[in-house]
């Protein structure tokens, strides 16, 4: 799911960098690595483990193909979401700077699509909620599968949105989402099963290594959890909508027709376009990326994108306010 540089427009890449950097700064504050120095080598070696584990092919029974381990979910189940997130960033950074896997410019987007959802939605929301009242193998299984499916759906959906928002492909939203989501549903299921197999093994051998094993934090869902759950719900609804849209053949045909009959290009090559491009650099959604923006699909796309932006902004603002408050208390 690594996005290449060519898939993102500068504005989108920048926005995703800002989002990921905010989440990273917050995580660094939360882990207290300066105090908990012991965590650093564990993070480093676990990051290396994710690399190695991704090289192992796990055969999927009944098919000829094979699956891989889901890094984000795995790391947060062992290190907790914040340290897991930072480790995952490290992994993505090394992949980008050693194997050119995932672009330099797209790194922000890749961190968001893979590490953020995996660690915060999969780890902080799902794993934590399921493990709140004690741990068992069934719960580990449920959390891993659910977590992987959901995080991959969110990740795939974000890839679709980011690509479309960048105006890269001529593919209409419904087609793109309609291919991305079901594929990643299958991948998520397999990755979830592999991850749960590994975590169950750890649970048998050394359960104290798992996050939330001893700490049984009872009581209401925390403030962060609530924000996370809300964002998660919003995105899940978006994802479901996209699935519904893709399964509707009329919508699909309609958008295809719309796209093929487009005449928007006549304005290109003029000064008008140059001015427009400057505008695009500042606006999040360049106009030309949604050919059917006046139609129903386009509207819903814009709606979902809007919801995501608002949700992301809310999270960022909440984090800022919280940090300012904390500093005042200190």
């Amino acid at each position: 799911m690594h996005m290449a540089d060519a898939l993102v427009a500068p504005a989108v890449a920048g926005t995703m960098y800002v989002c990921s950097a905010a989440a990273m700064t917050y995580s660094i504050k939360k882990v207290h690595l300066e105090v908990d120095t012991k965590k650093i080598p564990v993070m480093g070696v676990m990051g290396a483990f994710v690399f190695a584990a991704q090289m192992i092919n796990f055969t999927i029974p009944g098919t000829g193909s094979s699956g891989h381990l889901c890094g984000g979910m795995m790391l947060s189940a062992i290190l907790g979401p914040f340290a897991g997130f930072l480790t995952m960033i490290g992994v993505l950074l090394v992949q980008c700077l050693l194997f050119a896997d995932g672009g330099l410019l797209a790194l922000g987007a890749n961190i968001w699509n893979m590490a953020f959802y995996g660690c915060f939605i999969g780890g902080m929301v799902i794993w934590r909620m399921i493990m709140k009242n004690g741990m068992s193998k069934k719960k580990i299984m449920a959390a891993s599968v659910l977590g992987c499916i959901l995080t991959l759906q969110l990740g795939a959906f974000s890839v679709t949105l980011e690509t479309l928002a960048s105006g890269i492909t001529e593919l209409p939203f419904a087609v793109f989402a309609g291919t991305m989501q079901p594929i990643h549903l299958a991948i998520g299921l397999v990755e979830g099963l592999i991850t749960s197999a590994v975590l169950c093994f750890i649970y048998d051998a050394r359960p104290e290594l798992l996050w939330m094993y001893q700490k049984k934090e009872r009581g209401k869902l925390s403030y962060k959890g609530t924000v996370g759950a809300l964002a998660c719900a919003a995105l899940a609804v978006g994802g479901l909508l996209s699935l519904a849209a893709s399964s509707n053949p009329d919508g699909l045909e309609w958008s295809m027709e719309k796209v093929s009959g487009t005449t928007e290009l006549s304005a290109s090559g003029t000064i008008h376009q140059a001015a427009q491009k400057i505008q695009e650099l500042t606006a999040f959604l360049p106009d030309y990326s949604f050919k059917g923006s006046e139609g129903a699909v386009g509207t819903s796309v814009s709606g979902i994108v809007g919801a995501v932006i608002v949700a992301a902004l809310c999270i960022v603002i909440c984090i800022c306010i919280r940090n300012i408050r904390k500093k005042k208390v200190k």
Binding site: A6, P10, L98, G103, I168, A197, T270, A274
Partner: protein, 279 residues
């Protein structure tokens, strides 16, 4: 008997050494990068921050071109030729090493010609549509970005990149994590290779790990990794570790790096603006 074994092994290599081969390839890739990055040449000796920022701005400018601006984009390729030529890197080697990523980046726009039929040019009965042009620009963007990333990583070691990140005020604790990931990645890759080899030798003809062994195979590796982390921590503690690694750069050529970085970045930005106002 020996003959049989030999034949059997041949057969097996075809069938199943997928994972092992993949791991070995990854390790060779890292070896090659390391070797090239540690050579004593002008490109390698530049300050890593200059190279990182130049690469970043280059990719930024490349992807910012309009999807139909083929001529504008084509000129950006000159930079890559200049660096490959004067930096003495092999373009052939780069393409071979990056073949999968290049193919994926190039394939992104493959659907465009079928979706965008706006006519751009007619030459002797042959129609060039907007979709074709946008497909080519998209491919070029992908290829440029991958090649530029390649140039960055073969000329700069991870330690140097980390030094650049330190200059960018990325927290040192996080940089330490990256360095440890890099160091133990190879150790664990080799360990995974041994595990997979041991597995494949006893499970001939299987393409991957059977589901019954999913948990224990990767789980064992994980437990061993965590034990290793404990020893690494102890070893660090015994040598006065306080949470961060101290990165020190030995090469000194600030002036050259400044000229390189600022020069290229100015050229990119000026060209981009020039392109914009020409039309």
């Amino acid at each position: 008997m020996y003959c049989n074994l030999y034949l059997y092994k041949e057969h097996k290599e075809e069938e199943s050494e997928v994972a092992v081969g993949k791991i070995r390839e990854a390790i060779y890739g890292i070896h090659h990068m390391d070797e090239t990055a540690s050579k004593d040449r002008w490109m390698q000796n530049l300050h890593p921050l200059a190279k990182l920022l130049t690469a970043f701005v280059y990719i930024f400018v490349v992807v910012s071109f309009d999807k139909y601006d083929l001529p504008g984009l084509a000129v950006m390729g000159l930079y890559l030729f200049v660096l490959f030529f004067f930096g003495k890197f092999s373009l052939f080697r780069a393409v071979r090493q990056m073949k999968v990523i290049l193919a994926v980046s190039a394939a992104v726009g493959i659907a465009n010609p079928f979706l965008d039929h706006s006519v751009w040019m007619e030459a002797g009965g042959f129609v060039i549509t907007g979709g074709m042009i946008s497909m080519i620009t998209l491919m070029l963007k992908g290829i440029y970005a991958v090649l530029e990333s390649y140039l960055l990583i073969v000329s700069t070691s991870i330690e140097e990149i980390c030094y650049a990140l330190q200059c960018l005020k990325i927290p040192k604790t996080f940089i330490t994590v990256i360095l440890l990931i890099y160091r133990y990645m190879i150790v664990l890759l080799k360990e995974a290779e041994r595990i997979m080899l041991a597995y494949e030798m006893r499970a001939p003809g299987q393409k991957g790990v059977h589901w019954k062994a999913w948990g224990s195979l990767a789980g064992q590796l994980l437990l061993r990794s965590i034990d290793r982390a404990q020893i690494v921590y102890e070893s660090m503690m015994l040598r006065g570790y306080d949470g961060t690694f101290r990165l020190i750069r030995k090469k000194e050529n600030t002036a050259q790096s400044l000229v390189y970085g600022i020069g290229w970045i100015l050229i990119f930005l000026l060209y981009r603006c020039f392109c914009e106002y020409l039309r």
